[in-house]
């Protein structure tokens, strides 16, 4: 009798575990505020899908990139959903490392995605990653300092105006600098800024036959302009300033202008962290009248690696996290100002969002002004605004960034830096087989 009871109990237990045996999705993502919010709200997804459990791997951007690249290149199969950027998508999809995401369901409304963002994630007509949030760069400026100097920032400034205003406002004795820009070497640091800026000066990384273009007058003009401006109106030691260093400078009231990622807007306007929260204005990134603005485009996106055994559940999660309903869920729980920006047209048409996020219009205009498929004035063979979507770019971009950073530190002239950049890029591109 006792044995029978035990057996029955065991059988029941076995049956129940079989019934509730949930599929576990391992999701790799970056530790940005929007993603952390997604993790916190994911209980809503598991509530609606009790057969799916989520395991989160949240890492800093650079660690995450190395980690997921190793895994996908070796088909390690450790992740079912990966967070990747616009740089990886074209490269990885060509390697057949990603599954296409054209079938995210009828109510997904893929046509609602912002075209500039969607284009950057589409290869040969197929969407390979669903955008979670998009960002561009823009000009943040101190309204009080501009007013005191008798200047008015236009919504769409030119580089000449920015330079003139920066020089006028700079008061090095009071530690007020006209402009803070990235100088720290790295393909995602100073080269993100300088590549986007050079686009607006009519420069490009390569011509249509992959020949490096650092020996052109456009690059010389762009780099000289940047170096002169930073020498006259930039903070000291700018060659080691990246996003965080400039953020700290701007928040403590030392910069009159800062051109950087749109995500910074929420930081500099937060009174808990910023001493200048109520004095910040926004404008588009500057241009040179050539039809391209000096702003970049990036979208953190969710993709499914080709090796996963849980394709269906992974797609279900992505469809949830990048849907219109998710935006509404964030708005309901945390307010419209915390909704992940830059992915859907409907968000920018929403009056509640426009009211809650004063920088919404500027973010949208910045994103729409950048086209990753046509990033430069003259035609190029590559995709990417502030990068070139080829595997070799991380190495080359950082090496060129070191040359430009050295020039900013006064260790080399603009000519020397450009000639070194031309030489090293030509050597690497020849070695990689782009130049025959």
């Amino acid at each position: 009798m006792k044995l029978k009871t035990w057996l029955l109990g065991a059988a029941c237990l076995f049956a129940t575990t079989g019934l509730v045996a949930a599929e576990t999705l391992t999701i790799a993502t970056v530790n940005n505020g929007d993603m952390i919010r997604m993790q916190a709200l994911s209980g809503e997804f598991t509530k609606a899908n009790p057969d799916i459990q989520l395991e989160w791997v949240i890492l800093e951007e650079n660690v995450l990139r190395q980690r997921v690249t190793t895994d996908i290149a070796t088909k390690g199969g450790q992740y079912d959903v990966m967070t990747i950027g616009t740089y990886e998508v074209p490269i990885w999809s060509k390697q057949n490392w990603l599954l296409p995401l054209d079938d995210l369901g009828a109510d997904y409304a893929a046509d609602d995605l912002l075209p500039a963002i969607r284009n950057g994630l589409t290869v040969d007509g197929k969407l390979y990653a669903a955008p979670f949030y998009g960002e561009s760069s823009m000009t943040m400026y101190r309204k009080d300092l501009f007013e005191a100097a008798g200047l008015t920032m236009p919504d769409a400034p030119t580089w000449d105006f920015v330079a003139e205003a920066a020089r006028k406002i700079t008061d090095k004795n009071k530690e007020v600098y006209g402009i803070c820009l990235r100088g720290k070497a790295g393909w995602g640091e100073n080269m993100a800024f300088l590549t986007a800026m050079a686009n607006s000066f009519g420069a490009r990384w390569f011509d249509e036959s992959w020949k490096p273009q650092f020996d052109t007058p456009q690059w010389k003009e762009a780099l000289t302009f940047y170096l002169d401006l930073m020498r006259d109106a930039g903070p000291p030691g700018a060659s080691s300033n990246g996003f965080n260093e400039n953020l700290a400078l701007f928040q403590s009231g030392k910069c009159a202008m800062w051109i950087d990622a749109t995500v910074a807007a929420s930081f500099v306007t937060n009174p808990k962290e910023s001493q200048v929260a109520d004095k910040v204005g926004f404008a588009l990134a500057p241009d040179k009248g050539l039809g391209k603005r000096g702003n970049w485009l990036w979208a953190w996106s969710l993709a499914v690696p080709a090796g996963t055994k849980k394709e269906e559940a992974a797609k279900k999660f992505i469809a949830w996290a990048t849907s219109k309903d998710y935006l509404a869920l964030v708005a309901e729980k945390e307010g419209w100002a915390n909704v992940p920006p830059g992915t859907r047209k409907s968000l920018y048409d929403n009056p509640q969002y426009q009211q809650a996020a004063p920088f919404a219009a500027m973010t949208l205009a910045s994103i729409e002004a950048a086209d990753p498929t046509k990033p430069t004035v003259d035609p190029v063979p590559y995709v990417g605004v502030q990068f070139v979507a080829i595997p070799e770019f991380q190495g080359i971009g950082t090496a060129v960034g070191q040359q430009f950073s050295a020039a900013l530190a006064g260790q080399a002239s603009a000519d020397q830096a450009l000639s070194n950049a031309q030489q090293l890029t030509t050597r690497e591109m020849t070695r990689a087989g782009y130049i025959k």
Binding site: W56, V57, E61, T70, G76, Y79, F243, N244, K272, E273
Partner: protein
């Protein structure tokens, strides 16, 4: 007169000693202090030392975002496991090389050390593929094995130098008194080498605890140690120094406590044989 001078000297040395100690400890102290600040205060210029609004909010955030206990357990298992496994292999190896050296002993030691000269990333892909094929990715067993292999040369080298300090004559005397090999190691060699073995153990636990390349690359979630926990809080876009400091404090706390209790052994072991 001479006594006064020597007292002055002692006071001066004490002050210098404390100053150097404070300087070395300062980054850790600053991390702990920052972990109790708000994000705004953490980046304030001039920096605020003690008089700010203390808050435990960062610890609450870190607790709610991450599974600290899982990461800490993994760190303890991996670092202790790899060190003990390493000692098990290294003690006999170091014994053999110290007391029965051959013509090639030095070459073997150099060869072992040379494996440390290769940049780790150079073998990432082959090791990753091996781990994938053996099903060791994201497992504590896999990480323990890889850290054992990484730290083995250091363990062997350290033990070898300690064992060399022990006069072979004592072992020989034990042998002449009729001690077997086992008894010789357990009753004669081991007691004399305890400080050396203890400091090797401690140093390697610390090295394994801090190892951040392999533990990050070969783990995902289940086996991820505290290195992955910290990597979730550093941020290239955003100044979250207070949260990062809270995570760092939590990550170094266990090893700091261990080091505090074991400092006498550690110092004795590290200076063992230095003064004859």
């Amino acid at each position: 007169m001479a006594r006064a001078a020597s007292a002055r000297r002692r006071i001066a040395f004490t002050i210098i000693g404390w100053a150097v100690g404070f300087l070395v400890f300062f980054p850790i102290l600053w991390t702990v202090l920052t972990s109790f600040k708000s994000e705004g205060t953490a980046i304030a210029i001039p920096p605020q030392f003690l008089f700010f609004d203390w808050t435990a909010e960062n610890y609450a955030t870190v607790q709610s975002r991450s599974n600290y206990l899982r990461h800490m357990t993994n760190s303890i298992v991996i670092s202790l496991g790899s060190t003990l496994l390493g000692l098990l292999i290294a003690i006999p190896a170091a014994w053999a090389m110290a007391f029965s050296p051959t013509r090639r002993t030095k070459d073997v030691l150099m060869w072992m050390l040379s494996t440390k000269m290769l940049p780790a990333v150079g073998v990432l892909v082959p090791i990753y593929l091996l781990f994938r094929d053996f099903g060791l990715l994201d497992s504590r067993a896999g990480l323990t094995a890889v850290l054992t292999m990484i730290n083995l040369p250091i363990i062997v080298w350290m033990l070898y130098t300690y064992f060399r300090e022990i006069p072979a004559d004592i072992l020989e005397a034990a042998r002449m008194d009729g001690a077997s090999l086992g008894k010789e190691i357990v009753y004669v060699l081991a007691p004399m080498a305890v400080p050396g073995i203890a400091s090797t153990l401690l140093l390697n636990v610390i090295l394994a605890w801090n190892e951040a390349f392999w533990t990050l690359n070969l783990s995902t979630s289940q086996a991820a140690p505290l290195t992955a926990f910290i990597a979730a809080y550093s941020s290239p876009e955003g100044l979250f120094w207070a949260k990062l400091s809270a995570a760092s404090t939590l990550a170094i706390a266990p090893i700091l406590v261990l080091g505090w209790f074991a400092q006498r052994q550690l110092v004795r072991g590290l200076t063992f044989g230095a003064v004859k």
